[in-house]
Protein backbone atom coordinates (compact mmCIF):
# COMPACT_ATOMS: atom_id res chain seq x y z
CA UNK A 1 0.00 0.00 0.00
CA UNK A 2 1.49 3.37 -0.94
CA UNK A 3 1.48 6.58 1.10
CA UNK A 4 -1.50 8.03 -0.71
CA UNK A 5 -3.64 4.98 -0.05
CA UNK A 6 -2.63 4.90 3.60
CA UNK A 7 -3.48 8.58 3.97
CA UNK A 8 -6.87 8.15 2.30
CA UNK A 9 -7.71 5.22 4.52
CA UNK A 10 -6.67 7.15 7.62
CA UNK A 11 -8.87 10.05 6.55
CA UNK A 12 -11.74 7.56 6.41
CA UNK A 13 -10.99 6.44 9.97
CA UNK A 14 -9.44 3.08 9.13
CA UNK A 15 -7.52 2.02 12.25
CA UNK A 16 -5.72 -0.79 10.37
CA UNK A 17 -4.10 1.85 8.19
CA UNK A 18 -2.97 3.68 11.32
CA UNK A 19 -1.34 0.49 12.58
CA UNK A 20 0.38 0.05 9.24
CA UNK A 21 1.66 3.61 9.31
CA UNK A 22 2.89 3.16 12.87
CA UNK A 23 5.00 0.16 11.86
CA UNK A 24 6.22 1.77 8.65
CA UNK A 25 7.92 4.76 10.25
CA UNK A 26 8.61 3.39 13.71
CA UNK A 27 12.39 3.27 13.37
CA UNK A 28 12.71 6.61 11.63
CA UNK A 29 10.62 8.52 14.17
CA UNK A 30 11.90 6.90 17.36
CA UNK A 31 15.50 7.31 16.20
CA UNK A 32 15.04 11.08 16.21
CA UNK A 33 14.11 11.08 19.94
CA UNK A 34 16.67 8.47 20.96
CA UNK A 35 19.47 10.34 19.23
CA UNK A 36 18.36 13.51 21.04
CA UNK A 37 18.85 12.20 24.58
CA UNK A 38 15.50 10.40 24.85
CA UNK A 39 14.87 6.89 26.06
CA UNK A 40 13.19 4.22 23.97
CA UNK A 41 10.01 4.58 26.02
CA UNK A 42 9.96 8.34 25.52
CA UNK A 43 10.57 7.84 21.80
CA UNK A 44 7.65 5.45 21.56
CA UNK A 45 5.44 7.84 23.54
CA UNK A 46 6.29 10.82 21.36
CA UNK A 47 5.76 8.88 18.13
CA UNK A 48 2.41 7.56 19.31
CA UNK A 49 1.27 11.01 20.41
CA UNK A 50 2.36 12.44 17.07
CA UNK A 51 0.39 9.81 15.19
CA UNK A 52 -2.67 10.52 17.32
CA UNK A 53 -2.41 14.22 16.46
CA UNK A 54 -2.05 13.25 12.80
CA UNK A 55 -5.04 10.90 13.03
CA UNK A 56 -7.21 13.55 14.64
CA UNK A 57 -6.34 16.17 12.04
CA UNK A 58 -6.77 13.78 9.12
CA UNK A 59 -10.16 12.59 10.38
CA UNK A 60 -11.50 16.05 11.08
CA UNK A 61 -10.75 17.04 7.49
CA UNK A 62 -8.61 19.96 8.62
CA UNK A 63 -5.42 18.52 7.18
CA UNK A 64 -4.19 19.33 3.70
CA UNK A 65 -0.89 17.60 3.08
CA UNK A 66 1.60 19.78 1.25
CA UNK A 67 4.56 17.52 1.95
CA UNK A 68 5.19 13.81 2.33
CA UNK A 69 3.25 12.21 5.15
CA UNK A 70 6.48 11.10 6.84
CA UNK A 71 7.86 14.67 6.75
CA UNK A 72 4.70 15.97 8.35
CA UNK A 73 4.68 13.34 11.11
CA UNK A 74 8.39 13.85 11.68
CA UNK A 75 7.82 17.55 12.28
CA UNK A 76 5.06 16.76 14.82
CA UNK A 77 7.47 14.40 16.59
CA UNK A 78 10.13 17.11 16.66
CA UNK A 79 7.72 19.65 18.12
CA UNK A 80 6.42 17.26 20.76
CA UNK A 81 9.91 16.20 21.78
CA UNK A 82 11.06 19.83 21.98
CA UNK A 83 8.10 20.60 24.25
CA UNK A 84 8.86 17.58 26.41
CA UNK A 85 12.49 18.64 26.80
CA UNK A 86 11.36 22.15 27.78
CA UNK A 87 8.92 20.69 30.29
CA UNK A 88 11.66 18.58 31.82
CA UNK A 89 13.94 21.59 32.03
CA UNK A 90 11.24 23.63 33.74
CA UNK A 91 10.56 20.85 36.23
CA UNK A 92 14.21 20.62 37.13
CA UNK A 93 14.19 24.30 38.04
CA UNK A 94 12.54 25.96 41.02
CA UNK A 95 9.14 25.97 39.29
CA UNK A 96 8.85 22.32 40.24
CA UNK A 97 7.32 22.98 43.66
CA UNK A 98 4.71 25.44 42.49
CA UNK A 99 3.70 23.23 39.55
CA UNK A 100 3.02 20.31 41.85
CA UNK A 101 0.87 22.32 44.21
CA UNK A 102 -1.35 23.62 41.39
CA UNK A 103 -4.74 22.13 40.69
CA UNK A 104 -4.70 19.09 42.95
CA UNK A 105 -8.28 18.22 41.96
CA UNK A 106 -7.57 17.87 38.25
CA UNK A 107 -6.56 14.18 38.25
CA UNK A 108 -9.55 13.27 40.41
CA UNK A 109 -11.93 15.14 38.10
CA UNK A 110 -10.43 13.37 35.11
CA UNK A 111 -10.78 10.01 36.81
CA UNK A 112 -14.46 10.69 37.49
CA UNK A 113 -15.15 11.68 33.89
CA UNK A 114 -13.33 8.61 32.62
CA UNK A 115 -15.42 6.41 34.89
CA UNK A 116 -18.64 8.03 33.70
CA UNK A 117 -17.66 7.54 30.05
CA UNK A 118 -17.13 3.86 30.79
CA UNK A 119 -20.68 3.67 32.12
CA UNK A 120 -22.11 4.77 28.76
CA UNK A 121 -22.99 2.16 26.17
CA UNK A 122 -20.60 1.52 23.30
CA UNK A 123 -22.73 3.44 20.80
CA UNK A 124 -22.88 6.54 22.99
CA UNK A 125 -19.17 6.38 23.67
CA UNK A 126 -18.38 6.08 19.98
CA UNK A 127 -20.73 8.90 18.96
CA UNK A 128 -19.26 11.28 21.53
CA UNK A 129 -15.71 10.38 20.60
CA UNK A 130 -16.41 10.93 16.91
CA UNK A 131 -17.98 14.27 17.72
CA UNK A 132 -15.41 15.67 20.18
CA UNK A 133 -12.18 13.97 19.18
CA UNK A 134 -12.35 13.10 15.50
CA UNK A 135 -14.59 16.17 15.03
CA UNK A 136 -16.66 14.37 12.41
CA UNK A 137 -19.68 16.03 10.85
CA UNK A 138 -23.13 14.73 11.77
CA UNK A 139 -23.36 13.24 8.28
CA UNK A 140 -20.13 11.29 8.78
CA UNK A 141 -21.25 10.14 12.23
CA UNK A 142 -24.55 8.96 10.76
CA UNK A 143 -22.70 7.08 7.98
CA UNK A 144 -20.22 5.43 10.31
CA UNK A 145 -22.77 4.45 12.91
CA UNK A 146 -25.40 3.37 10.40
CA UNK A 147 -27.97 5.95 11.53
CA UNK A 148 -30.82 6.77 9.16
CA UNK A 149 -29.87 10.43 8.75
CA UNK A 150 -28.16 13.43 10.36
CA UNK A 151 -31.19 14.17 12.54
CA UNK A 152 -30.93 10.73 14.13
CA UNK A 153 -27.21 11.33 14.69
CA UNK A 154 -27.91 14.74 16.27
CA UNK A 155 -30.57 13.34 18.59
CA UNK A 156 -28.38 10.43 19.59
CA UNK A 157 -25.44 12.70 20.29
CA UNK A 158 -27.65 15.06 22.33
CA UNK A 159 -29.08 12.25 24.45
CA UNK A 160 -25.69 10.64 25.02
CA UNK A 161 -24.20 13.94 26.07
CA UNK A 162 -27.10 14.62 28.44
CA UNK A 163 -26.63 11.21 30.00
CA UNK A 164 -22.90 11.79 30.46
CA UNK A 165 -23.54 15.26 31.92
CA UNK A 166 -25.91 13.79 34.49
CA UNK A 167 -23.47 11.07 35.49
CA UNK A 168 -20.63 13.55 35.86
CA UNK A 169 -22.72 16.09 37.77
CA UNK A 170 -23.87 13.44 40.22
CA UNK A 171 -20.29 12.38 40.86
CA UNK A 172 -19.02 15.97 41.05
CA UNK A 173 -21.72 16.82 43.63
CA UNK A 174 -20.62 13.90 45.76
CA UNK A 175 -17.04 15.13 45.63
CA UNK A 176 -18.00 18.79 46.10
CA UNK A 177 -16.53 19.77 42.74
CA UNK A 178 -19.56 21.75 41.69
CA UNK A 179 -19.66 25.40 42.73
Amino acid sequence: MNEKEIFERICRGDEKALELLYKKYYRMMTKMVISNSGTEEEAMDVYQDALIVFWQKANSGSLVLTSKMSTYIYSICQNLWRKELERKKRLSNEEKDSAVSQNMDAPERERIIRQCIEQLGDTCKQVLMYYYFEELSMQDIADKMGFANTDTAKTKKYKCKQKLDELVKAQYSEQDFLD
Partner: protein, 284 residues
Protein backbone atom coordinates in the same frame (compact mmCIF):
# COMPACT_ATOMS: atom_id res chain seq x y z
CA UNK B 1 -26.81 27.44 35.42
CA UNK B 2 -26.90 28.51 31.82
CA UNK B 3 -30.25 28.46 30.08
CA UNK B 4 -31.21 25.33 28.16
CA UNK B 5 -31.02 27.15 24.83
CA UNK B 6 -27.37 27.96 25.51
CA UNK B 7 -26.49 24.30 25.76
CA UNK B 8 -26.16 23.77 22.03
CA UNK B 9 -24.23 26.98 21.51
CA UNK B 10 -21.87 26.14 24.35
CA UNK B 11 -21.38 22.64 23.00
CA UNK B 12 -20.63 23.91 19.50
CA UNK B 13 -18.13 26.38 20.95
CA UNK B 14 -16.34 23.65 22.89
CA UNK B 15 -16.35 21.32 19.90
CA UNK B 16 -14.90 24.15 17.81
CA UNK B 17 -17.84 24.22 15.43
CA UNK B 18 -18.85 27.88 15.55
CA UNK B 19 -18.14 30.28 12.73
CA UNK B 20 -15.61 33.05 13.42
CA UNK B 21 -18.30 35.70 14.00
CA UNK B 22 -20.44 33.45 16.22
CA UNK B 23 -17.33 32.54 18.17
CA UNK B 24 -16.48 36.18 18.89
CA UNK B 25 -20.06 36.91 19.93
CA UNK B 26 -20.14 33.89 22.19
CA UNK B 27 -16.81 34.75 23.82
CA UNK B 28 -18.13 38.21 24.57
CA UNK B 29 -21.14 36.71 26.34
CA UNK B 30 -18.94 34.23 28.14
CA UNK B 31 -16.79 37.01 29.56
CA UNK B 32 -19.86 38.73 31.03
CA UNK B 33 -22.01 35.85 32.22
CA UNK B 34 -20.77 34.05 35.36
CA UNK B 35 -23.36 31.26 35.11
CA UNK B 36 -22.32 30.61 31.54
CA UNK B 37 -18.67 30.51 32.64
CA UNK B 38 -19.48 27.84 35.24
CA UNK B 39 -21.35 25.78 32.68
CA UNK B 40 -18.48 26.27 30.27
CA UNK B 41 -15.93 24.99 32.83
CA UNK B 42 -17.92 21.83 33.42
CA UNK B 43 -18.55 21.18 29.73
CA UNK B 44 -14.91 21.81 28.95
CA UNK B 45 -13.87 19.19 31.55
CA UNK B 46 -16.26 16.68 30.05
CA UNK B 47 -15.15 17.32 26.47
CA UNK B 48 -11.50 17.04 27.52
CA UNK B 49 -12.33 13.79 29.30
CA UNK B 50 -13.92 12.38 26.13
CA UNK B 51 -10.91 13.41 24.04
CA UNK B 52 -8.49 11.88 26.53
CA UNK B 53 -10.46 8.65 26.61
CA UNK B 54 -10.25 8.40 22.82
CA UNK B 55 -6.52 9.20 22.92
CA UNK B 56 -6.03 6.41 25.45
CA UNK B 57 -7.93 4.02 23.16
CA UNK B 58 -5.77 4.87 20.17
CA UNK B 59 -2.65 4.67 22.29
CA UNK B 60 -3.59 1.19 23.47
CA UNK B 61 -4.20 0.21 19.86
CA UNK B 62 -0.71 1.37 18.88
CA UNK B 63 0.91 -0.22 21.91
CA UNK B 64 -0.43 -3.58 20.78
CA UNK B 65 1.23 -3.29 17.36
CA UNK B 66 4.45 -5.31 17.15
CA UNK B 67 7.27 -3.01 16.09
CA UNK B 68 10.86 -3.56 15.05
CA UNK B 69 13.39 -3.33 17.87
CA UNK B 70 14.72 0.14 18.59
CA UNK B 71 17.46 1.65 16.51
CA UNK B 72 20.91 0.88 17.85
CA UNK B 73 24.36 2.18 17.12
CA UNK B 74 26.33 0.57 14.33
CA UNK B 75 28.82 -0.78 16.86
CA UNK B 76 26.09 -2.47 18.86
CA UNK B 77 24.68 -3.93 15.66
CA UNK B 78 28.13 -5.13 14.58
CA UNK B 79 28.78 -6.63 18.02
CA UNK B 80 25.36 -8.27 18.00
CA UNK B 81 25.85 -9.83 14.57
CA UNK B 82 29.33 -11.04 15.53
CA UNK B 83 28.02 -12.65 18.71
CA UNK B 84 25.18 -14.33 16.87
CA UNK B 85 27.54 -15.62 14.18
CA UNK B 86 29.99 -16.92 16.79
CA UNK B 87 27.28 -18.60 18.83
CA UNK B 88 25.69 -20.14 15.75
CA UNK B 89 29.08 -21.50 14.72
CA UNK B 90 29.66 -23.07 18.13
CA UNK B 91 26.16 -24.50 18.29
CA UNK B 92 26.44 -26.00 14.79
CA UNK B 93 29.81 -27.51 15.74
CA UNK B 94 28.44 -29.19 18.87
CA UNK B 95 25.19 -30.19 17.23
CA UNK B 96 26.79 -32.05 14.34
CA UNK B 97 29.78 -33.43 16.22
CA UNK B 98 29.56 -37.27 16.12
CA UNK B 99 29.65 -39.96 18.86
CA UNK B 100 31.95 -38.53 21.60
CA UNK B 101 29.97 -35.30 21.80
CA UNK B 102 27.34 -36.34 24.38
CA UNK B 103 30.01 -37.41 26.82
CA UNK B 104 31.93 -34.16 26.52
CA UNK B 105 28.84 -32.07 26.75
CA UNK B 106 27.65 -33.96 29.77
CA UNK B 107 30.97 -33.39 31.50
CA UNK B 108 30.88 -29.72 30.68
CA UNK B 109 27.34 -29.42 31.92
CA UNK B 110 28.34 -30.91 35.24
CA UNK B 111 31.03 -28.31 35.81
CA UNK B 112 28.68 -25.47 34.88
CA UNK B 113 25.71 -26.51 36.95
CA UNK B 114 27.05 -28.81 39.67
CA UNK B 115 23.85 -28.62 41.71
CA UNK B 116 21.83 -30.20 38.88
CA UNK B 117 23.55 -33.48 37.97
CA UNK B 118 20.34 -34.89 36.56
CA UNK B 119 20.48 -32.40 33.71
CA UNK B 120 23.20 -34.37 31.89
CA UNK B 121 20.63 -36.50 30.11
CA UNK B 122 19.09 -33.43 28.54
CA UNK B 123 22.32 -31.72 27.67
CA UNK B 124 22.36 -32.64 24.00
CA UNK B 125 18.93 -31.08 23.59
CA UNK B 126 19.72 -28.01 25.62
CA UNK B 127 22.94 -27.17 23.86
CA UNK B 128 21.44 -25.20 20.93
CA UNK B 129 19.12 -23.46 23.35
CA UNK B 130 21.99 -22.25 25.48
CA UNK B 131 23.57 -20.78 22.41
CA UNK B 132 20.41 -18.86 21.66
CA UNK B 133 19.92 -17.50 25.13
CA UNK B 134 22.19 -14.43 24.98
CA UNK B 135 20.45 -13.35 21.79
CA UNK B 136 17.08 -13.75 23.43
CA UNK B 137 18.26 -11.76 26.40
CA UNK B 138 19.28 -8.79 24.30
CA UNK B 139 16.17 -8.83 22.21
CA UNK B 140 13.91 -9.25 25.17
CA UNK B 141 15.15 -6.41 27.30
CA UNK B 142 14.75 -2.96 25.76
CA UNK B 143 16.58 -0.85 28.35
CA UNK B 144 15.04 -1.21 31.79
CA UNK B 145 11.47 -1.78 30.78
CA UNK B 146 11.21 -5.51 30.42
CA UNK B 147 13.06 -6.98 33.31
CA UNK B 148 14.41 -10.49 33.01
CA UNK B 149 14.47 -12.15 36.37
CA UNK B 150 17.85 -12.51 37.99
CA UNK B 151 19.98 -11.69 34.98
CA UNK B 152 23.57 -11.51 36.16
CA UNK B 153 26.00 -8.84 35.03
CA UNK B 154 28.72 -9.85 32.61
CA UNK B 155 31.50 -9.15 35.13
CA UNK B 156 30.28 -11.96 37.32
CA UNK B 157 30.82 -14.56 34.63
CA UNK B 158 33.67 -16.98 35.06
CA UNK B 159 36.00 -18.05 32.30
CA UNK B 160 34.05 -21.23 31.64
CA UNK B 161 30.93 -20.81 29.54
CA UNK B 162 28.00 -20.23 31.87
CA UNK B 163 24.36 -20.49 31.31
CA UNK B 164 22.66 -17.07 31.43
CA UNK B 165 19.97 -16.97 34.03
CA UNK B 166 17.39 -15.97 31.48
CA UNK B 167 14.10 -17.67 30.95
CA UNK B 168 13.93 -19.72 27.80
CA UNK B 169 10.63 -21.50 27.24
CA UNK B 170 12.30 -23.99 24.91
CA UNK B 171 13.74 -25.71 28.00
CA UNK B 172 10.26 -26.35 29.14
CA UNK B 173 9.00 -27.21 25.71
CA UNK B 174 11.58 -29.93 25.36
CA UNK B 175 10.79 -31.17 28.87
CA UNK B 176 7.42 -32.26 30.04
CA UNK B 177 4.58 -29.85 29.68
CA UNK B 178 3.40 -30.49 33.15
CA UNK B 179 5.51 -27.87 34.84
CA UNK B 180 3.92 -25.14 32.79
CA UNK B 181 0.68 -23.46 33.40
CA UNK B 182 -1.36 -21.29 31.13
CA UNK B 183 -4.56 -19.84 32.41
CA UNK B 184 -7.35 -17.85 30.98
CA UNK B 185 -8.73 -15.14 33.24
CA UNK B 186 -10.91 -16.74 35.78
CA UNK B 187 -9.87 -20.31 35.04
CA UNK B 188 -6.95 -22.44 36.09
CA UNK B 189 -5.14 -25.68 35.39
CA UNK B 190 -3.56 -28.01 37.87
CA UNK B 191 0.05 -28.98 37.29
CA UNK B 192 2.02 -32.04 38.17
CA UNK B 193 5.16 -30.42 39.50
CA UNK B 194 3.60 -27.41 41.16
CA UNK B 195 0.54 -29.39 42.15
CA UNK B 196 -1.59 -26.30 42.69
CA UNK B 197 -3.89 -24.27 40.53
CA UNK B 198 -2.48 -21.05 39.11
CA UNK B 199 -2.55 -18.42 41.80
CA UNK B 200 -2.42 -15.47 39.48
CA UNK B 201 -5.53 -13.37 39.43
CA UNK B 202 -6.14 -10.59 36.94
CA UNK B 203 -7.84 -7.26 37.20
CA UNK B 204 -8.34 -4.61 34.53
CA UNK B 205 -8.30 -0.93 35.38
CA UNK B 206 -9.84 0.94 32.46
CA UNK B 207 -10.26 4.20 34.29
CA UNK B 208 -6.69 5.15 35.02
CA UNK B 209 -5.80 8.28 33.09
CA UNK B 210 -2.05 8.02 33.57
CA UNK B 211 -1.57 4.48 32.35
CA UNK B 212 -2.97 3.45 28.97
CA UNK B 213 -1.27 0.10 28.33
CA UNK B 214 0.58 -0.85 31.50
CA UNK B 215 0.68 -3.56 34.14
CA UNK B 216 1.75 -4.49 37.64
CA UNK B 217 2.48 -8.08 38.60
CA UNK B 218 2.69 -8.30 42.35
CA UNK B 219 1.70 -10.93 44.90
CA UNK B 220 0.18 -13.28 42.32
CA UNK B 221 -2.02 -10.54 40.97
CA UNK B 222 -1.79 -8.91 37.57
CA UNK B 223 -3.37 -5.50 37.21
CA UNK B 224 -3.75 -4.39 33.61
CA UNK B 225 -4.25 -0.70 32.90
CA UNK B 226 -5.99 0.27 29.68
CA UNK B 227 -8.95 -0.59 27.49
CA UNK B 228 -8.48 -4.34 27.55
CA UNK B 229 -11.35 -6.23 26.05
CA UNK B 230 -12.77 -8.68 28.52
CA UNK B 231 -11.64 -12.27 28.22
CA UNK B 232 -9.37 -11.58 25.28
CA UNK B 233 -6.20 -11.82 27.33
CA UNK B 234 -4.40 -14.84 28.65
CA UNK B 235 -1.77 -15.20 31.33
CA UNK B 236 0.95 -17.75 30.60
CA UNK B 237 2.95 -18.97 33.57
CA UNK B 238 6.20 -20.89 33.22
CA UNK B 239 8.04 -22.51 36.08
CA UNK B 240 11.67 -23.43 36.08
CA UNK B 241 12.52 -24.69 39.55
CA UNK B 242 11.79 -21.84 41.94
CA UNK B 243 11.74 -19.29 39.15
CA UNK B 244 8.52 -18.21 37.59
CA UNK B 245 8.19 -16.30 34.35
CA UNK B 246 4.89 -14.80 33.31
CA UNK B 247 3.72 -13.68 29.90
CA UNK B 248 0.55 -11.92 28.86
CA UNK B 249 -1.04 -12.87 25.56
CA UNK B 250 -3.33 -10.17 24.16
CA UNK B 251 -4.51 -9.57 20.61
CA UNK B 252 -1.86 -11.72 18.90
CA UNK B 253 1.02 -10.33 20.94
CA UNK B 254 3.00 -11.67 23.87
CA UNK B 255 4.28 -9.45 26.67
CA UNK B 256 6.80 -10.41 29.32
CA UNK B 257 5.48 -9.48 32.78
CA UNK B 258 8.12 -8.53 35.27
CA UNK B 259 7.24 -8.98 38.96
CA UNK B 260 7.36 -5.91 41.19
CA UNK B 261 5.32 -3.10 42.64
CA UNK B 262 6.10 -0.59 39.93
CA UNK B 263 3.62 0.09 37.11
CA UNK B 264 5.32 -0.79 33.85
CA UNK B 265 4.48 -0.35 30.21
CA UNK B 266 3.55 -3.45 28.24
CA UNK B 267 6.08 -3.97 25.49
CA UNK B 268 5.47 -6.74 22.98
CA UNK B 269 8.02 -9.53 22.69
CA UNK B 270 9.80 -9.10 19.35
CA UNK B 271 12.34 -11.88 19.41
CA UNK B 272 11.22 -14.28 16.63
CA UNK B 273 12.71 -17.37 18.31
CA UNK B 274 10.97 -16.68 21.61
CA UNK B 275 7.72 -15.81 19.86
CA UNK B 276 7.84 -19.07 17.94
CA UNK B 277 8.30 -21.02 21.14
CA UNK B 278 5.52 -19.17 22.93
CA UNK B 279 3.20 -19.77 20.00
CA UNK B 280 4.13 -23.44 19.90
CA UNK B 281 3.37 -23.76 23.57
CA UNK B 282 0.12 -21.83 23.39
CA UNK B 283 -1.13 -23.86 20.44
CA UNK B 284 -0.54 -27.18 22.20
Amino acid sequence: MAAERDFELLDDYIANRLSATDKIAFEKRLAEDIDLQRAYDLQQHIATGIRNARKAELKALLMAVPVPSSPTSSFTKWAGFSTVALLLGISVYFYFKPAPAPMEVAAEEQTVVPQKPAVSEKSTIQQPTEMESPVDAQELKPKDEVGIPAKKPLEEKSATPRKLDVFDPSEELTDDEENMDATLPGESKTTHEVATASRITTEVDKTNRKYGFHYVLNNDKVTLYGSFENNLYEILEFFSGEKRTVFLFYKDNYYLLDEGTEVKRLIPVNDPALLKKLMEYRNK
